[in-house]
């Protein structure tokens, strides 16, 4: 019974992906390119292992902030708060890194951890704001998150244009961080480095925290059965605030790692493109850390493959990658519409497979 449920979940997710791909096929038609060829190029642009810098490494590097913001969003979902303020937390984490990296005079082995901790704290605090508003005042967390995201990006624009501005040239950007604290990249120019390993570490830590600790247990109960948790003596408010702080901290760390490992500064438009990717990853990943890991790599791959493969090789606009991702989310959103049909097909498939299994067994017995 439980296996059928998991099976159904996977099948429905796969259906959403297939439907998304189908519609993309339609959209590729006006370009004159064969859809199969396009998807082949998309795949090799995403996960290919050829050329000077393998696309696979670039994809993994791009996936790092997605994994982290996906985890951040996931914490919120798990505890029943649809918080989408990851972008704001990311921005403040990045700002903290860009600022402290230049201001603090400490040996690198001390400075880097300090910066990370500072980014986590500021991200966590920023994540507490929508949480407190929701828990104490009942404010809708989606609207407050979006307001906070906007405030954060505007604050970023202000800071890079004035106080943090490094050069008086055209670009509004902060000073470059000293090379001594740049995070190591495994393959030069790929963006894939230590931050990726940190992200994987956090995925594992998240899994352990949520499923193997008492606090994680309380988190899950508050999210899925709030009345049960309250009856059992769990202080739901505390759990929610604690969880949102953790989520915010991880998103803040994501921003910090991007600055330390990748850009080495912040500039105008720093967070553009991140938008709601974190929560898309969490949603599509079934609110599970391993799902988040997979989906983050998949999404990063699609965007990367669209940029490198579709646009550069086939002259198909890279936005098609974003369109494909949006279509998948769309089909996941409306799964109730086609779920009955998928259910029927899946049940029929199960019957057929079990019949074949029985036939095989019979033949074996006869022999």
């Amino acid at each position: 019974m439980k296996n059928k449920q998991i099976g159904m979940k996977i099948v429905v997710s796969l259906s959403a992906i297939m439907l998304g791909i189908l519609v993309s096929f339609l959209l590729i038609a006006p370009t004159g390119v064969s859809p199969y060829k396009a998807f082949g190029v998309l795949f090799s642009g995403a996960f290919g292992i050829s050329g000077k810098v393998w696309p696979l490494w670039i994809t993994l590097g791009q996936a790092t902030p997605l994994i982290l913001t996906g985890l951040a969003a996931m914490y919120g979902f798990r505890v029943g708060v649809f918080c989408i303020a990851q972008e704001g937390q990311y921005v403040f984490g990045a700002l903290m890194a860009a600022w402290l990296g230049v201001q603090l005079q400490l040996p690198p082995w001390l400075l880097v951890p300090c910066i990370m901790i500072a980014s986590i704290v500021i991200g966590g605090l920023y994540g507490l704001i929508p949480a407190i508003l929701k828990v104490k005042l009942g404010v809708n967390e989606i609207i407050s998150s979006i307001m906070l995201n906007n405030i954060a990006t505007l604050a970023l624009e202000y800071l890079v244009a004035f106080p943090l501005r490094a050069d008086s040239g055209q670009k509004a950007q902060s000073a470059v961080l000293p090379q001594s604290i740049w995070l190591f990249q495994f393959v030069k120019g790929s963006r894939w480095g230590i931050s990726f390993l940190l992200a994987i570490l956090l995925v594992v830590i998240t899994y352990v925290y949520i499923w193997k600790t008492p606090r994680g247990y309380e988190l899950r109960m508050v999210g899925k059965a709030p009345l049960f948790a309250r009856y059992g003596g769990v202080k739901s408010d505390h759990v929610i605030l604690r969880t949102m702080f953790i989520g915010g901290g991880i998103a803040g760390l994501a921003g910090c790692l991007e600055v330390l490992g990748n850009y080495h500064r912040v500039m105008t438009g720093f967070s553009s493109g991140l938008g709601f990717d974190g929560l898309s990853v969490a949603m599509l990943g079934g609110s599970h850390p391993f799902g988040v890991l997979l989906v983050a790599i998949l999404l990063a791959g699609i965007r990367q493959g669209a940029q490198l493969g579709l646009q550069i090789s086939l002259k198909i606009p890279r936005e098609l990658g974003g369109v494909l991702i949006a279509l998948i989310i769309f089909f996941v959103a409306i799964e109730n519409v086609y779920r009955p049909y998928v259910d029927k097909l899946y049940s029929k498939l199960v019957v057929v497979i079990s019949k074949i299994g029985k036939e095989n067994q019979k033949t074996r017995e006869v022999q």
Partner: protein, 320 residues
């Protein structure tokens, strides 16, 4: 000196009104849905679709139909109408998914917003081969309308005159919605459905129908706001043209307590903030960002107050 000051203020005021119009339309759309108890978070996406559809429809009508070739301005008006119909259809689609298939509108909105952003740019690049901005010389922007009556009134008349059709339409819509909310049966049904759907159902009001109409109307209004952006003032389409105005509309609606009048003034306030920020940027060295942050910050404050009051009310009414 006085004249310069006057000119500065009038100019500022009229650019405020122009900047406020799409926000006001988005706010009306949001207010209507909020009142009906439906959270419509796709207004940003609907607006973007509206911008795109309006300009593309205008382009096609202008160049592919004899009517459009002969009357450029008419083509623009028709393009706007096409955008509004598209918006109404989108709204209907949402309503159908929501009532028939119990689709979560929040997740759907996120998908729609993302789709709008990516697909419009993709289509712009594939169909028109432009990657940042697309425009076409054949498209004519909406003409400013001048009313002789207003010309005779000093200062105020000058302030209210010379805007395009969509601006005036937004004012008319505010008035219409105020009347609907306070003076019609539909307005009553709307509020009842939003506040206590069970109470509405118990007297035979169809909650689904009311929410359907709210979503359809709000889709049309959001797209009208989007059309203003692409063919109302300038005639071009840029990626992410709506740039957060849909969200400001959501905020303005909450700011205005989901009333059409309140939404209008909140939208106007946001428009003024925008205009002042722009003006400051051109005239002084003061960073405009603080002013731009104001609307978002104030919305959170207002939201907190409103939610707190609602929570106090709920605990008072709880019978346990």
């Amino acid at each position: 000196m006085n004249e310069v000051f006057d000119f500065f203020t009038i100019n500022l005021a009229s650019s405020s009104i122009r900047l406020a119009t799409p926000i006001i339309l988005a706010a009306l759309a949001a207010a209507l849905c909020n009142k009906a108890g439906v959270l419509n978070l796709a207004i940003e996406g609907e607006m973007l679709w509206g911008s795109f559809v309006a300009i593309v429809a205008t382009f096609l009508i202008r160049n592919q139909t004899t009517l459009g070739q002969m009357h450029p301005i008419l083509a623009t008006y028709l393009g706007i109408i096409v955008a509004m119909i598209f918006g109404a259809l989108m709204g209907w689609f949402f309503a159908w998914l929501h009532t028939r298939h119990h689709v979560d509108l929040v997740v759907l909105s996120i998908a729609i917003n993302m789709l709008a952003s990516e697909t419009t740019v993709y289509l712009m690049r594939v169909l028109f081969k432009q990657s940042g901005t697309w425009s076409d010389a054949s498209i004519v922007q909406l003409p400013p309308l001048s009313f002789s009556l207003l010309n005779r009134i000093p200062i105020v008349g000058q302030l209210l005159n010379g805007y395009n059709f969509i601006v005036y339409a937004s004012w008319v819509l505010v008035v219409v919605l105020v009347i609907v909310f306070h003076k019609t049966k539909y307005g009553r049904y709307l509020k009842a459905v939003g506040e206590n759907p069970n109470a509405a159902r118990s007297v035979g009001i169809s909650v689904n129908k009311v929410q359907h109409w709210a979503l359809i109307s709000s889709g049309a209004m959001a797209c009208l706001g989007g059309a203003f952006l692409s063919v109302g003032h300038l005639t071009l389409f840029t990626r992410d043209m709506s740039s957060g105005r849909g969200w400001l509309g959501n905020a303005a609606a909450l700011f205005g307590f989901n009333n059409p009048g309140g939404s209008f003034f909140a939208g106007l306030f946001f428009g003024i903030a925008d205009a002042v920020a722009l003006r400051l940027q051109n005239v002084t060295k003061i960073p405009p960002y603080i002013i731009q942050i104001m609307p978002y910050f104030l919305t959170i404050v207002i939201l907190s107050v409103v939610s707190y009051k609602a929570r106090m009310q709920k605990s008072r009414n709880a019978l346990h």
